[in-house]
């Protein structure tokens, strides 16, 4: 990581705080309108998708219904759920948009997500050994992690993780790697497993039992469409999230260098450990503005639709402090993610060593 003195870090902190405070002072009607518009759009997509689905015996309608329901789930998970649970709209004081009670349309419970993502991942971003989102304890993405033979086939694991992403995220807090190492016991994980079963069951009941059953004559079509919609959401959200921290230039950190760090150092870590991708307005909305992952990690609780507006200022601060602002086209960034997964399938001396950062 770029070395900066405490004085420089403190200046960085102040520069970023100025951007944050400007947005906070300006929060109001416009932000409320944005999120309410998104919620309304989600309701239209969800109702539209569910209503069209039974007519899916007409092939173009099947495609439209599946895509509509998939888009509904993407919008709800990414632009609404993820952002609301970050507390981006807590200031609106609207109980249905409150970070601590929001429950989203995916297997992972809101509570589990708030612990593993909002707290662990956003506090310990990219610290190998502390940020369990770095490779999800399934993938080896940095040479800081010792190579094991099973890593050779990790690309298969990556594909499986993407296909079943909502179940992977839902089980993330199980901490299987710690269970394997016997650092924690299954008994300790029982309350979590109960919650997981309750929410996972609820989601499966809805998409794979209830809606197919109420449309009985066309149940297989509705089931197939609902599976398809979940698959679309899984692949897309997994891809967006991988582009956020696993691109070529996204840095990783060791526990030692982050011990007792200042807020300025935390900011530096967020700036250098995250990566953006460019695109049009709807690409940003469908990614929940995680295409502005850098801005999101620096200001996780500012309404996400503000990230495009402050991106220029964040870039200027990066330039001033000589920090690399990691961005590129979606295709380019995703290409470097795939390369990273493949490269670290092999031990360092067999190609993994060529990694630029690790």
């Amino acid at each position: 990581m770029k070395h900066m003195t405490e004085a420089q870090l403190s200046e960085l902190e102040q520069d970023l705080n100025v951007i944050r405070e400007e947005v906070i002072a300006d929060l109001g009607e416009r932000d409320a309108q944005h999120i309410r518009r998104m919620v309304r759009l989600h309701r239209m997509l969800e109702v539209g998708g569910r209503v069209m689905m039974p007519l899916g015996f007409i092939p173009p309608v099947f495609v439209a219904a599946t895509a509509t329901l998939g888009a509904a789930k993407i919008l709800e998970n990414m632009e609404i759920g993820h952002n609301v649970m970050h507390g981006q709209y807590d200031w609106m004081n609207d109980p249905s948009l409150h970070s601590q009670t929001y429950e989203w349309d995916t297997v992972c419970t809101g509570d589990s997500w708030r612990r593993t993502h909002n707290y662990e991942h956003h506090t310990y971003t990219n610290i190998i050994g502390k940020d369990r989102d770095y490779g999800y304890a399934v993938l080896r993405l940095s040479n800081d992690e010792p190579w094991k033979p099973w890593h050779a086939l990790q690309f298969i694991n990556y594909v499986l993780l993407s296909v079943f992403f909502q179940w992977g995220v839902g089980l993330h807090e199980l901490e299987t790697e710690k269970l394997r190492r016997r650092e924690i016991s299954w008994r300790e994980k029982l309350p979590f497993l109960k919650e997981f079963a309750r929410k996972g069951g609820r989601q499966a009941f809805k998409d794979y039992v209830f809606f197919p059953l109420v449309t009985f004559p066309v149940a297989p079509i509705v089931l197939a469409g609902n599976v398809g919609a979940n698959l679309i959401r899984n692949l897309w959200s997994s891809t967006v999230i991988f582009c956020g921290h696993f691109t070529r230039d996204a840095e990783t950190f060791s526990e030692e260098e982050c011990e007792g760090e200042s807020k300025g150092h935390w900011y530096l870590r967020q700036l250098t450990g995250s990566s953006n991708f460019t695109g049009g307005r709807w690409l940003h909305i469908l990614s929940g503005h995680l295409s502005y992952q850098v801005e999101h990690h620096v200001f996780p609780d500012l309404p996400a639709h503000r990230y495009p507006e402050i991106s220029g200022k964040v870039q200027a601060v990066c330039q001033k402090h000589g920090i690399h602002y990691n961005t590129g086209s979606f295709a380019r960034q995703y290409g470097t993610v795939l390369k990273r997964i493949l490269r670290h399938s092999l031990p360092e001396r067999l190609g993994g060593g060529a990694a630029t950062t690790a």
Binding site: Q100, E103, Y119
Partner: protein
Amino acid sequence: MLAKQTQSRTLHWLGRQLFNRDDPAAFFDPLLEPINPMWIQEYTPARVEQIIQETPDTKTLVLQPSRRWSGFRAGQHVNICVDVGGIRRNRSFSLSSSPILWQEQGRATLTIKRLPGGRVTNWIHDDLQTGTVIGMGEAFGDFQIPEPARPVLFIAGGSGITPVLSQLETMAATNYRAPVTLLYFVRIEDDVIAREKLQALAARYGALTLHIITTHETDTPRYLCDADLGSIPGINARQVYLCGPKGLMDLARELLHQRGIADTDIHSTFFSVPQADPGNEPLGGQVRFSESKLGVGSEGDATLLEIAEAAGLSPRYGCRMGICHQCSCRKTAGTVINRLTGQASGHGEENVQLCISVPKGPVSIDI
């Protein structure tokens, strides 16, 4: 919170499974609201039918709540919620109409005085238009007249007259058979709320004796005194109801005690002008953790999280630096300062992050 559940349990259970929320009926609100805001399920919608200017700084809102509202008894209050600048604000007001108006015409009124610096009352006075739909909760409060009838004395001050208006209208309509006296204190003549209505009530309801007393029309203030009480026939047999500013309520209580009237015969309703801006009040204050039924004092810039932990509570938290919102919870009253920005919060019900909120004056938290 302001919602009233009406669906059957099975439907409610199914709704929770399908929509991942405890108020599944509200899932469709974003679609229904643009069509007809009276179909909102999240709270009880109430349409503003008419706005009456009572005095230069007091307005009466005539509301038509949705029929699923449960109604109220005279003297009760309601919470209303309005969106001001994208922020939902909740406030309590007394209902000023008689329940008979609700039963016969489906209407209820709130009489609201503009508070200097008050975010909600100023918005109501300056921006609220007829036809707007606001959110309403179920009525609460037990500022109620005795049944069967007993002699009653009301002592009201300023906008503290509002629940009394509701009581008097109801008493007149039901011909409450006992002497009723109202001592109504206002600063100046222009401050009298609902003067015509009061005079009409006194004219048609013989049991009512009305005294409107101005405190600041003369050089020396003319406050409630023992002679006022002495002039009321059978004062010691009366049930006394107080509603007004704290100064008036304290004075009345003291004078009533001197006359040997017991606390069991004195009823008061909460009515204190909330501090819209605590100004230069020092940091720290009395913190009430309502669910834990615990109150503790704090000084200086201790955060609510630190105060709660020092009091032996263990609220959920995460980063302790204002990032992750794990510790966000509901503040039901009071002002807090955001340690990161130095900004003061509002005084109503809203979400706060415990780890960066410092109380300024008394605060109530839902933990």
